[in-house]
Structure formats: C-alpha cells, structure tokens
C-alpha cells in the first residue's frame, strides 16, 4: 500500500505525515508539486504548512501545481485523498471540497491540543474510529475557521459529510464547530487539526490521530 505525501514549496508537515503513514503500516511516497507524476500511489495526503507562503489565499496557488491536476482527476475517480490544514485549504481551492477556511475568529494563530468528535466513521480516512469517538490532537493554524453558505451547510449536515467537530468552545469560529468534511463519495477528506502530530504520546498530546492512517489501510484492503 503506497501513500503519496505531496511537498509544495512551503509545505511543513510532509515529513510528519510520512512518518504517520509508516506508523499506520503503509509505505510513504514523496510527491513533488512540480512533477505531474503520482508514482502509482494508492492514496494521497496533502500535508500542512504554508504552501507558496499562503500568498493570495491559503491554497490558492498550490491548486495550480502540476501534481494537483492528477490528484483532482484521481480523486474524482475515487482515489482516497486526505488534506490536513493547509492541505484542506488546497482541497477547497481545488473544489474537491466545498467551503473555505478563513482567519480564526480571534485573528491569532492558535496552537493547542484540541478535542474533536468523530461524526462520520464511514469515510476512507475515519473507519478506524467509532461513531462519536472523542480524540485529542493538535490544532495549529491561523486560518482554520470553516465557512460556507447556508445551502452548502445544510447539504454537508444532511448528507453526513461533516466528519469531525470541535468539542467544547469553538476554537476559531468555524460554522457548526466543523473540524473536517468529506466529499459526497467519502474518499476525499479535509481536516483542520493535525492527526499526524498525534501518533505517539511522546511527541504529541496522544496517539489518537493514528486512526486516520490505519483507516486508509482498511479502506484499501476491503
């Protein structure tokens, strides 16, 4: 099982994502933004960071990277894609996911251990969790407030496409406490908090993020 991890200029969490992939039991394959080559991977992760310095808008330039054309095609054919933080922003800019991530409501970058609840465990990236399971993983971003129009919100909620919600006080002003969403098919998932930083309690707040990386193995095996 080969999982690609894309590096854009300014990507920061690529090595962390690759480490999490290996901890999850798969092989991590480095993908370079400028190469129109997915190297026969079975799934793709867009890691966190500040691709292209977040210039213009977060993710707005990365979506035009040569590798993204292939990611979009593959995702539309059902390949599992996980976008974490900046990766989530890229997926929204690529229109693989609806909505947008905007400045945190208090206008500060926020790094903290965040409890989230898994709302939908039937996607390619969440099947290792139980419905309603609460996990604590790092949240760290300046633009993590999920926004969309009423119709989109109703659609996301109605179709069960909200995959995770913040527990407790809203950390960033996201609508309906949304921490992550999926596409209609459930193969593309965007998540604002960082499961790749929570695969070992030694270096993270917990090892509860590992579930995202074992879920994908289940999805591929079945």
């Amino acid at each position: 099982m080969r999982i690609g991890v894309i590096t854009f200029p300014g990507t920061l969490d690529d090595r962390d994502a690759a480490r999490a992939v290996v901890h999850g039991g798969a092989e991590a394959i480095s993908l370079w933004h400028a190469d129109a080559d997915l190297k026969n991977v079975d799934a793709v992760i867009l890691p966190g960071g500040f691709s292209y310095g977040d210039y213009l808008r977060c993710g707005a330039i990365s979506r035009f990277a040569p590798v993204m054309k292939l990611v979009i095609e593959a995702a539309n054919k059902g390949m599992p894609v996980l976008g974490i933080c900046n990766g989530f922003q890229v997926l929204c800019e690529s229109h693989l996911l609806p909505g947008a991530l905007t400045r945190n409501s208090d206008l500060h970058f926020l790094c903290r251990d965040q409890e989230i609840e898994i709302i939908n465990n039937s996607t390619a990236w969440t099947s290792s969790f139980t419905q309603g399971e609460k996990i604590t993983i790092p949240l760290k971003n300046g633009e993590g407030s999920f926004q969309c129009d009423e119709a989109t919100l109703a659609m996301l909620e109605g179709e069960g496409r909200v995959i995770a919600r913040y527990v407790g006080e809203n950390p960033n002003g996201s609508r309906n406490l949304i921490a992550g969403i999926s596409n209609a098919q459930g193969n593309v998932v965007g998540l604002m908090p960082h499961p790749e930083h929570a695969i070992d309690a030694l270096t993270g707040p917990s090892d509860q993020g590992l579930g995202f990386f074992t879920s994908i193995l289940n999805a591929m095996v079945n």
Binding site: R19, G53, K140, H197, L202
Partner: protein, 743 residues
Amino acid sequence: MSLDTVAIAQSTPDNKQPFAELGLKPDEYARIKEILGRRPTSSELAMYSVMWSEHCSYKSSKVHLKQFGDKAPKSDALLVGIGENAGVVDVGQGYAVTFKIESHNHPSFVEPYQGAATGVGGIVRDILTMGARPIAVMDPLRFGPADAPDTRRVLPGIVAGIGGYGNCLGLPNIGGEVVFDETYAGNPLVNALCVGVMKHSDIKLAKAAGAGNLVVLFGAKTGGDGIGGVSVLASETFGTGGSTKRPSVQVGDPFVEKILIECSLEIFAEELVVGIQDLGGAGLSCATSELASGGSGGMKVALDKVPLRDPSLSPEEILMSESQERMCAIVEPHKLARFLEICKKWDVTVTAIGEVTDGDRLEITWNGEIIVDVPPRTVAHEGPVYNRPMEQPAYINEVNSQKVSVPIPHTATEIKAAVLKLAAAPNLADKSWVTSQYDKYVQGNTIQSQPDDSGMVRIDEKTHLGVAISTDANANWSYLNPYQGAKLALAEAARNIATAGARPLAVTNCLNFGSPEDPGVMWQFAETVRGLADGCLEMGLPVTGGNVSFYNQTGAIAILPTPVIGVLGVIQDVRTRTPMSFNSAGLDLYLLGQTHEDLAGSEWAFLHGERVGQSPTADLSAEMRLIELLLAGHGMQLFSAAHDLSQGGLSAGLTEMVLRHSIGARIVLKSAGIELLSESPGRVIVAIETGRAQSLVDLASEHQIMLTKIGSTGGDSLTINESVISLNELRTAHTSTFPKLFG
C-alpha cells in the same frame, strides 16, 4: 550622486565625507584613511561604517569577551568555538548540534512584528550557515510594565512576528521567557535562539578558499530595506523627539527563507560549497569581508551583478542593504552547474557575483570601475577596540546596604492570598496567550516545550537521542550584583536542563545592556562577563558563542543588566526524561537544596516595588552536586517529576506543578511565608513513589544536598499548612492575567 571610485578618491583627498552621520567617530575615520593610505570611497565608507558599528565589531565588548576563551574549560564536546556563525558541540552518535542566541531588540521596538520576525530569520540563517538543519527556536522576551499602553502595542506585535515567521518556517518553538519591568519600556528585549543538528562531517565554515572559486549570491533579491539598520539602529541610544527610524527595519519573507533552507540543505548534502555565509546585519559588506577574511586569498566582486528588487539602489546602498533571506556561497567552478540546478528546482534566485583571487584585497567593481579596494580583515576583524572607562555605579552600595522590607504572610488567609498573588503576577502567570501563537508540534520531535523547565527535541528517532535547552536570566539579581547574577543565571539554566535528566554540555549567551559609554553600565557588563566566564570554568561548560546588545537605553534610563544564558544538554533516551510535574496522587514531594531568607531581587519584592538588598551568592559546587544528583536519580528512574525553583520560589513552583495535570498537593512547612517566597538558588522539587524514599535519602547524602520532605500529591487543591487553595481558584488566577491584559 555620481559614482565615487578609488581613482576619484585618490585624486580628491580632501572631499568632505559624512562619516559622522554614518556613525563613525573622527578617530575611526582617521584610522580608515590610514589603513587605505587615502580617503575611502563612499562605498568603502559605507562598508567600514556598518562593520565597525558596535553591533558588528563588538568594539566595546571585545576586551572583556576574550575571557570566555582565556578561562575556557577543557571540553571534548566543543567542535567549533567562538568566532564562527555559531558554535558546534558533539552530542554523540556522530551528531553535532549548533545553537546560538541573538538579540533583535531595537528593530522590535520600532516595528514589533517585522523586528521580531527578522530576528528569528537571522538566527535561523546563522544555524543553517553552519551546515545544520534548524530543528527548534526559543524566544526570551522582555517588556515594559504589563499594563503600560505601549506594551499593548509592542508585545502582541512581537509575539505575532515570532509566530508569523517561525511557524511558516516549520520550526517548533520550544520555550523562552516573558518578563516585565519598567526599564524595558522603550527598550523591549527580543532575543531569539535557534538550534540545529547535523552530522560531524557536514560542518560548514565561512571561508573563501581556493583562487578561481566563485562567489555565489542566492536567495532573495536585494532591496532598500534595513539600510543603515545596523549602524543607525543598534548603535545609537533612542532619544526623545528624534526622527522616526521605521525605514531602517528589515522586512522578512518567511516563505522565501523556508525555500532557502531546503535549497541550502540540498546543496550542502551534495557538497557543492567550499564556504558559506548568510547575509544578516551589514548585508553584503559583512558577507564578502568575512568570507574573504576567513579564506587564504582575496576576493573580487562585481556589485552590478547583484539582483535588485529596487533598480535605483546605489552601490553604497547595495553594500549596506540588510534585505533578508540571502546567502553567499563559495563554489568551485565545476560544481556551479549543479548548484544552479538545485536553485532552479526551488525557484531560488542565484547569481555568481565574483571570484576568489590569490591576492589579499577585497575588490568590488561597479560596471567595471573599482569602488572598493580594501584589506578584508581591516573591515571584518580589525575594527576599533575600546577599553571603555568603567566604574561601579553609586547605586550598588546604596541598594546593597538596604534590607528588603516586605510583608511576610503568616495566617492561612495571608498565605493563600500571597500564593494567588504570585500565581497571577504577570512575570509568573500562565503564558499560553503567547505560546499558543507558536507551533510547537511541527517536525514531530518535540518532547518538552513551555511551560516545562527546558525545551527538549529528539534528534534521532531510532536511538531516541535528544537535546534539551533552557534560557534564563534574573535581571533583578544582576542589578544588585552583576557578577553573581551571571553565575546564578548560568546555574539556573543548567539546573533546568538537569531536572529533565539531560546533561548540560555548552553555553550560549545574549548580553543585553544599556549604553557602553556610561561607565556604570560598562562596569555591569564587565562584571557580568567575568561572572559568566568564571562560572563556566567552574562548571566545565564552554561558551560556544553569543551576542552583545548595547544601547538598550532611553535617555539616562538603562535597562536592568540582562544576561540571558542559554545552556544546551544532551539526553541519551528522550523516552526516559523526568517530567516537570506529577500525574498521579499518593506521591511524596521533597525539596532538594537549602532555603535561606533570599527575598532580595525576588518576585515578591518586585511586586512590592523593592529592588534592594544583596543577591544570593552562587554556590556552583553545590549546583554541580545537585545536577549530578538529578542525573543519577534520572538514571535510576527515581523521579516521577522534578521541577526547578526560581522566580516566585516554592509558591510558583508548586502552582505550576499542581496545575499541569490538575492533581493537587498537601504541603507542610515550618515557616510557610519565607519558605514559599524565598528564591534561594539551587533548589528542585521532586516527586517520588513512597516506597523509594530510601534511595532518595541515599542519593542526597551521597551528593551532600539537603533533603526535606514537604508533602504529598493528591486532591483537588493546593493545601499549605491550613491554607486551602482549590485548583480552580488557582487556575483562574494563573490563567486570567494575560487574556485580561492583551485580549
């Protein structure tokens, strides 16, 4: 302005030059003329003026700093010492670690966000320049009074700048300090530390060797930012009513720096450079003269080849520009093609601007005309050296002869009030408002970060090898006694490393002071350096490098002498570290070390407006025995937790411990008031399982460290004798201060 060439300088010896405006004294200008045998060209004048500024030349501090070399302890760990961009120490398993701390004080007052951001950027490039991958940053900060209106401008801007830059580089921020005192109003201190890791064989030095090798400039294009930043901003005391100096502050682009880091590491990995230097303070003037000085020959540079962001810049401005995110490499001609290829992959602008020559001059041309022709060492290393007058300031005897007279709590109510007051004091309150704006998780190797005693990062995932770093200063003690203050800060930083189970290895320092032209300040500085050098010798810890920041002064008011000491330690297996707090009930709590009535310079005295008395005297042999005890206990996995006591004494230490995992403690003290508030150095609280008391007693007796049982863990309150403080109450006091002050 028309081009001023060497030929013109020779033919017009009497042209008046604005040396004073550039910060040069008449005798310094005369010396330049003597070196060159003619008047300098305007470009040469620009170079000398920035390189001979206090910031670059250490002209007031040099005579004192050489003690770090003269008194250096023997150390097998030191691979690269003082003088390079950063010191390098051996941490075993073939790994070398480089770390350094630098100030960016003045720019951060003028433009807090960019000043602090580029402070981070600069120190990260210093570490990168040694051939290392930067792995973490730390930021000791000092501000005016917490409730002063200007602090509300300066602090949020500085914190956002550090976060905005460091977060975007993907460097975990693992610690630092936030301290308030009125002397820092108008002179905030932004000190930035970076640590990097490499294999021994990857160490790079700033030298331009090998005639015919190319001088290659890569990174951001050169613009007009920061021109004169070094000489104008860092070497002049802020006056009142002066003109605004905003344009002198550099503007950073962390995205470009991130790319530059990855691009440089790829270039280093393929061994494509002979020497390398980053462009920081004094820009190209510094990089070319230092590279040429470090090599065997001379250097020729065509300045007109430098890629410009602003095409209207004059050669003088290009030489002085402090545009960020630039590096200068010496490359063998046959490796240039590959060098260019890697830069292209990362979209990094790269230009060969010159070559190493077999002469002994640094020659710079502008469209073929020679505008600089100097012996490079005279620019980089042979600047003026001042043995400035110094004199013990009058205040010393005055404050030392007074006794601290502050109320000491006795009743249960008074004790509770004192603990809550300290928990909420801005200097001791929870700093999450600051640290939650920094990414501490990126790179996935952070083992400890604020509010732990030290920051700790893993450097090898397979062997679990790690390093720990702590930065400390106690400016109140340094004010009362700068010699002792320096030693005490060193001891505290080393202790903070050892509480986690890491062995202290090496020292860096950032010495922040007022004007060196004031004999009293100069005396504080000299005493500090003497104390630190003596302390390092006694503790066997080499100083690997550092930074001096003078002129932190508004009018006649100098900042408190603030030597920030950074100590780096190594831990063989990060999984075994001793945590700073307990996460279970039923553990016994012991105090290691002796408590005296040390209220002079304490936070309690500060809260009562008192800065008098005598600082404690550092007992470094006791500190070293305590460190050995902590390391031995760690080796036996004896401690469930260990926490250093420093500012705020036992009261603050207990507050931090019980709140960490929301597990309370019952404490019994003989004279609670003094015992809670005293800041006697050389003390640590440890938690152990009840059954292991004898091992601790044996260790303490073996290392001749006083051991006192003070209580046990459990419950939902911090109970001290009859005072009961619920964890909720304590948490509210501790965590409300910053949000209340800064929103």
